[in-house]
Symmetry: C2
Subunit: 297 residues, 2 copies
């Protein structure tokens, strides 16, 4: 990772985490409930989705700070999906980012509710009057629609449902691609699209950023699968080889390691080609695409 | 129930259920997932929240049909909350509206996802371009904010969390009121508020309808508690006496049956007084308040 990207990511993570920390009251009768949300929302993580959103907005506007409510909404959705995916009825994971999962600490009932609360908080953030400083209300409604479509039954939730339904079954490459496009890709694309709308991008720019988002979403999942085979538990903060153990369909299982790496490389190149016309201002997005390919966790 | 109200409710239920039925595709790779959503969303029910929304909008506009996406969003949220509340980790209910609960039929993983999908669908509906025929985008964003606040951690989700946390413990009347205001009241108030905003109500009218919503939300919960003590399983479609069995705090347990009935009567009167200035056009809301008090299930 280049020093410039390292500094960029560190700076963005800092503003994202500072904003997230303001969202959950520490006192009052609901403090106990908010503790469960805070536990997962402030547990670190790469913050890829909010950073993609901010970086996309920065193509069109010098200061992305006023976009933080929308960027952080995407992290709330991502975090809720991890909490629910880790539940005993789903993937039954005990470890996430090197810490016990939400239901291990707070119990299943509270973990379900923490996820529900974070998902709803995301839409509260997307509908905040603060965003009126950035876009007109029509664009704000458009963002909410894009995010809801990406996060819901035709996107992330549907992808997880397909994933659960196919566990332990033979899955062909088309089905695997559909699962990942829904489960991981849709929200990553929506993060980039949200940044585009916050930047008042025109239709052509919006379409280019959508294609970029689709490509890195696919790359992200291929890399996740590779890490699950090749990473170490210390690097990942979760169990290694768990996909194979659960007989989950993965790219390496279907394509082999080498072809997965080749397709990953091609997909990242394609992502970078999509944003070529934006020049220097798209440099963070370009480097983020490389980072997705090269990351160790 | 008056004949006029009976006909009004039947007509509204019909349009709501027809609209809901259009939302969930029956074919395609995600058909299995949507089956679980449809099972609970089209399982009958009183449709109180969408009808309150439509009835509030009708104070200000002759035809509430274009308001259906927003009204039905409220039903999606209500249905998701029932699916998650019924889960083994929460209330562990096997029966709902006389049918096996979602997780009994589809398994816990799919039930969690069906709830997640319905919650997200609600915000997709609230952000639909169809509503541009009814209100300007600023009002649409305001509705999304109101609903997210009411449904989330400071409202319904937080109320359920408090309820779970206090199960089997001594609860005083203030805490019971807080739990119910969050868990049931907030979304009922939001339903009426959504109708008010869809009707472009001025601030005074909005405040009156908010107060009406708060009062009938409280009345609704008191009546629910009374039914749990006094109803029959056939009427309720779920187990009777289950609150007492789980040592759940209820109004009858804290106030006694007679005082609960008195407070219910006073609360309904108060609700009706709030909407007095709207005259004839608020007649459905007036009758709905009485219906909430007199219903058998």
């Amino acid at each position: 990772m280049s020093l410039a990207l390292k500094e960029y990511l560190a700076a963005k993570r800092k503003v994202v985490e500072e904003y997230l920390a303001t969202l959950l009251p520490e006192e009052g009768p609901l403090a106990g409930h908010y503790t469960a949300l805070r536990y997962s929302l402030l547990a670190g993580g790469k913050r890829v989705r909010p950073i993609l959103c901010l970086a996309a907005a920065e193509i069109f506007r010098a200061d992305s700070t006023p976009c933080l409510p929308a960027a952080c909404a995407l992290e709330c959705i991502h975090t809720y999906s991890l909490i629910h995916d880790d539940l005993p009825a789903m993937d039954d994971d005990d470890l996430r980012r090197g810490k016990p999962t939400n239901h291990v600490v707070f119990g299943e009932a509270e973990a379900i509710l923490a996820g529900d609360g974070l998902l709803t908080l995301a839409f509260e953030l997307l509908a905040t009057p603060e965003l009126a400083a950035v876009v007109d209300p029509g664009a704000q409604v458009r963002i909410i629609r894009l995010v809801a479509q990406a996060a819901g039954s035709a996107g992330m939730v549907g992808g997880q449902s397909l994933d659960v339904a196919h566990e332990g079954k033979e899955v062909d490459l088309d089905t695997l691609r559909l699962i990942h496009r829904c489960k991981t890709g849709a929200l990553i694309t929506a993060a980039v699209q949200t940044g585009a709308v916050l930047g008042n991008a025109d239709d052509e720019a919006f379409d280019r950023l959508t294609a970029y988002g689709d490509a890195i979403g696919l790359a992200f999942q291929m890399k996740d699968d590779l890490l699950n085979v090749e990473g170490t538990q210390e690097e990942l903060g979760k169990a290694v080889g768990s996909d194979a153990e659960r007989q989950k369909a993965t790219y390496p299982a279907l394509l082999g390691l080498e072809q997965t790496k080749n397709e990953l490389e091609q997909t990242v190149r394609q992502a970078i080609a999509c944003i070529e016309p934006f020049g220097e201002r798209a440099e963070p997005l370009r480097q983020l695409a490389r980072y997705i390919q090269e990351r160790r966790r």
